[in-house]
């Protein structure tokens, strides 16, 4: 069988599995639709959280990004895992004890204010839409590259699948599909990584192979020889690395689709435990990714540097037709010069290729390539579904039930939740087909905003009984305005100054969420110290969520 046949077979089987689960796990009440009835085991929730969290970006783009960034790629590795420590220690157990369905509901109740709840809803919707558009785009791209259908068809197929299990099953359907999707994506990620580790270093475990056989020294040598920076040496200023890492960590802990997963387990101690499982499952991929990055970089340099173009392997010309590899024979000698200097370099490579083409570059069997497609789709669909649920609950539970029509019946609310989920799928699909120009740049937005809005508001709401509505609302608004303003300034208003000399204290827009969080905390404390303390019932509520029973 050729690559395409294998891909159709594996992707088809995985989709059949997801649909099967969707039919088996229909939600009958809002309790099931929002939090899967609150009866998910910590292990299953850990897997579901891992799939929920690891998106198309983690699966497809991250290793490629790292392979071009070298040591500085650690900002993603630490940033997207370290947040789980914050989540497990500072948020998950208390929010589980609080026992409501959504993050804005906590913000609204803790700060006894519809305004606070609405600020939280707006942030949740903005973060989720930004993110989900990227996932649908990822689905479309995987379809178009591996299955030869156009991006539109790919997005529509993806929409139908997500629609089936997210709209019918709600959180219940999503949870159990995510468990299956985690298994698919981690298998798809590990198989080629192990193959390549054995090929390059004779080590089965990529995390060990990465350090053996002098691989990193060789890679440093190859890189500097061609005029690139040494792989294991950092290029970014420490303060920027520090701030980006912190913003990604805090942002991770503040993302509503991740937090809401901890509402689905039965007990407080299950919430703590499932955060541990979640990070364990995430760490399997996140400790493999830097190994894949180094392997792929070594393989790539060894294969293409100094290669005669007419003898290029099949994958090279295949990816050239997609425009993701570009070869420009500047000195017309028919040989690929791949160097770190703009004048002599003849090759440009899209970073996404590093994972997608890795099996082909390493000459792995066709079924492995098919696996990559199924894994990429699992990663994108699982994250999209989690985000769609946040969008739908924000509308039906926070907006309609919380503010517009509190007396609504459970059945009616469930109906609205389904309609909202359906509407969100269609809107996400539209953005997937016609991506607004801002999507790529707004990943920084999503994390920066989560870091500067939710995270401090929730943490202060748990750890300070004194924090009041005035403080939290003004803090969230100040944090968001500051962060959004800084990012907008450097991406739209003054892009020519978007470089380390133009940034404040050398902090890039990617890392500014860290400062935004500090702005939020400072403003919150100042304002709350000049306004009355919250009512006694609120203080008692805080005491109640601090203990498991």
């Amino acid at each position: 069988m050729d690559i395409q046949a294998w891909t159709f077979l594996i992707v088809g089987l995985s989709f059949a599995l997801y649909i099967g689960i969707a039919i088996w796990s229909r939600a009958g009440s809002t309790h099931e639709f929002y939090v899967a009835g609150g009866g998910v085991s910590p292990l299953a929730n850990g897997m579901a959280t891992a799939a929920d969290w690891m998106s198309a970006a983690s699966f497809i783009s991250m290793a490629g990004l790292i392979s071009f960034m070298g040591r500085d790629g650690a900002v993603y590795l630490m940033g997207w895992t370290g947040g789980y420590v914050l989540l497990a220690l500072l948020l998950a157990p208390y929010l589980r004890k609080f026992g409501k369905f959504t993050v804005p509901a906590f913000v609204g109740d803790r700060y006894y204010s519809h305004t606070a709840r609405m600020v939280a809803v707006v942030c949740a919707l903005f973060i989720s839409f930004t993110y989900v558009a990227g996932q649908m785009r990822g689905v479309g791209i995987v379809f178009s590259r591996f299955l030869g259908v156009d991006i539109e068809t790919g997005v529509i197929v993806g929409m139908i699948i997500v629609f089936l299990y997210a709209v019918m099953g709600g959180m219940k359907g999503i949870t159990y599909t995510q468990v299956a999707q985690y298994c698919v994506l981690i298998f798809a990620y590990m198989v080629p990584a192990i193959f390549i580790s054995i090929m390059l270093t004779d080590q089965v475990v990529p995390q060990i192979g990465f350090g053996s056989a002098g691989l990193l020294d060789k890679l440093d040598g190859l890189s500097t020889e061609l005029g690139f920076a040494a792989y294991t040496v950092g290029q970014k200023a420490w303060i920027d690395v520090f701030c980006i890492t912190a913003a990604l960590m805090v942002g991770t802990a503040g993302l509503p689709h991740v937090i809401v997963r901890f509402f689905t387990v039965p007990k407080v101690r299950d919430a703590r435990m499932s955060a541990g499982y979640a990070l364990l499952f995430i760490a399997v991929l996140y400790t493999t990714a830097p190994a894949v990055a180094a392997f792929a970089r070594t393989n790539l340099i060894q294969t293409v540097s100094g290669m005669t173009y007419s003898e290029a392997p099949g994958w090279f010309t295949n990816w050239e037709t997609t425009g993701l590899i570009k070869f420009d024979d500047k000195n017309a000698d028919g040989v690929v010069q791949y160097t770190g200097s703009n004048e002599t370099n003849e090759l440009s490579i899209d970073r996404d290729i590093m994972v997608l083409a890795n099996p082909e570059i390493a000459n792995l069997p066709a079924w492995v390539v098919g696996l990559i497609a199924a894994g990429g789709l699992a990663a994108a669909l699982s994250t999209a579904a989690g985000l769609l649920l946040v969008i739908s609950t924000s509308v039906s539970h926070d907006l309609v039930k919380g503010v517009l029509n509190p007396k609504i019946s459970d059945k009616k609310e469930l109906q609205i939740a389904r309609i909202a989920a359906g509407g969100a799928v269609i809107l996400a699909g539209y953005f997937g087909v016609n991506p607004p120009g801002f999507v790529a740049q707004t990943v920084a937005f999503a994390f920066g905003l989560a870091a500067a809005s939710f995270f401090p508001a929730i943490v202060m709401g748990i750890f300070s009984k004194r924090m009041n509505a005035e403080g939290a609302i003004s803090g969230m608004i100040a944090g968001v305005v500051f962060t959004a303003g800084y990012i907008a300034w450097f991406t739209y208003l003054s892009p020519e100054t978007n470089n380390p000399d133009g940034w404040w204290f050398g902090i890039s827009p990617e890392g500014i969420g860290t400062v935004g969080m500090l702005v939020n905390v400072t403003v919150s404390i100042l304002v709350s110290s000049r306004t009355p303390a919250p009512e006694k019932e609120i203080q008692e509520m805080v005491e109640m969520i601090r203990v498991p029973k």
């Binding site: 370290g82 157990p93 056989a213 990193l216 950092g234 007990k267 601090r546």
Partner: protein
Amino acid sequence: MQEKQVQATAYWRKNLLYLSILLGIWFLVSFGAGILFVDWLDQYQFFGFKLGFWFAQQGSIYAFVILIFVYVGLMNRLDREFDLREE
């Protein structure tokens, strides 16, 4: 009721103590070893890696996983000690 209050406060204090120790380690392995002292640590070799590089791309993540499970263990013990374990 009073007794319960006192218990809850003691439980919370202990929790805060655990949090500050664990988050201190969290900061040291990531922001410390992986960012602030990474170049200095790179002079040491560790299983074929430069030590700072290993912390930045591997070690910090392992430490995060361990930290959460240690926290889970400590808190489960604390829940029992204060009779706050949910049935």
